[in-house]
């Protein structure tokens, strides 16, 4: 059994989608008997985040939410992971940040300060959603093409794959989605440049061959 910490801020459409789609990861982890620390909504603040890392010592940290080069945000854009301030709390852990640009600085700083692996995006993470599915994000056929490949990273890590394998599986899934849109001459082909963008900006920093193991 391993312990994973997941952050799920929820305060507008983007975080609404990420919070719902990451529930699939929680369900999978629980079904496998892992311990899940689900930090959501107003609890996604720096104090709780730091406290949970210290007390619960998760091997895997999954961050959902907005971000930029130097930080990842929680509820209502409160910074919870900040380069030069608290990335040392990620030492010995595997991290996946579904967040914009965080590998540029805070991801690299995390590795410098002992994180085992930091997976994230070096540019903005983008996704399309369908306005008619906003109330049912898990049924949204457009968002699915973006967020399923993202989920595959966490699921692969939980299945025991290496960090590099998890990233490759995600990239392959994006490529399959692109090929599906092309092959079926789908009216949703307009999303291909955005899918490609995420695929090319996904980065795996640190130990490529590391696997998530319980302490």
């Amino acid at each position: 059994m391993l312990t994973l910490l997941i952050t799920r801020p929820l305060y507008e459409h983007t975080t609404h989608y990420l919070a719902h789609w990451s529930k699939k990861i929680i369900d999978f982890a629980k079904a496998k008997g892992h311990q899940v620390i689900d930090v959501k909504e107003k609890r996604v603040n720096r104090k709780t985040f730091e406290s949970m890392l210290r007390k619960m010592n998760p091997a895997l940290v999954l961050l959902n939410g907005h971000g930029e080069a130097e930080m990842v945000y929680g509820q209502n854009n409160e910074p919870i992971l900040i380069a030069g301030e608290n990335e040392d709390l990620l030492a010995d852990r595997t991290v996946y940040a579904l967040s914009c640009k965080s590998t540029q600085i805070v991801g690299r700083k995390s590795i410098e300060n002992g994180a085992k692996t930091y997976i994230g995006y070096k540019e903005d993470y983008v996704f399309y959603w369908h306005s008619q599915y906003a109330a049912k994000p898990l049924d949204d056929p457009r968002a699915r093409l973006f967020l399923e490949p993202s989920n595959l990273i966490s699921l692969s890590l939980l299945k025991g794959h290496t960090a590099q394998e998890a990233c490759e599986k995600s990239k392959e899934a994006i490529l399959r989605n692109i090929q599906y849109l092309t092959a079926t001459n789908s009216p949703d082909q307009f999303m291909i440049p955005d899918l490609l963008w995420n695929m090319e900006n996904l980065e795996c920093l640190g130990e490529q061959n590391s696997r998530v193991t319980s302490y």
Binding site: E12, L175, W197
Partner: protein, 77 residues
Amino acid sequence: MNIEEKQKEIKALVTARLATIPSDAILSVGSHGEFTRDQILTEVENETEIGKKMIEMHIRYLQKLKEGIFYANTTHH
């Protein structure tokens, strides 16, 4: 064709491609917010940070299209 003319041509091409986005599609661009088709077109027209990103995204796509990876097997390049 000079650089300015080429940039203008690229912008027109990207604008034409973006104009095909259905009106019920919303693009989330991280903390920049959410954009409808018309808002994306405005960003491109005004050459904002988002607009420039959209153009860059489409240029990358067209380059990859030329390489033919979207029609290959599922092995990642």
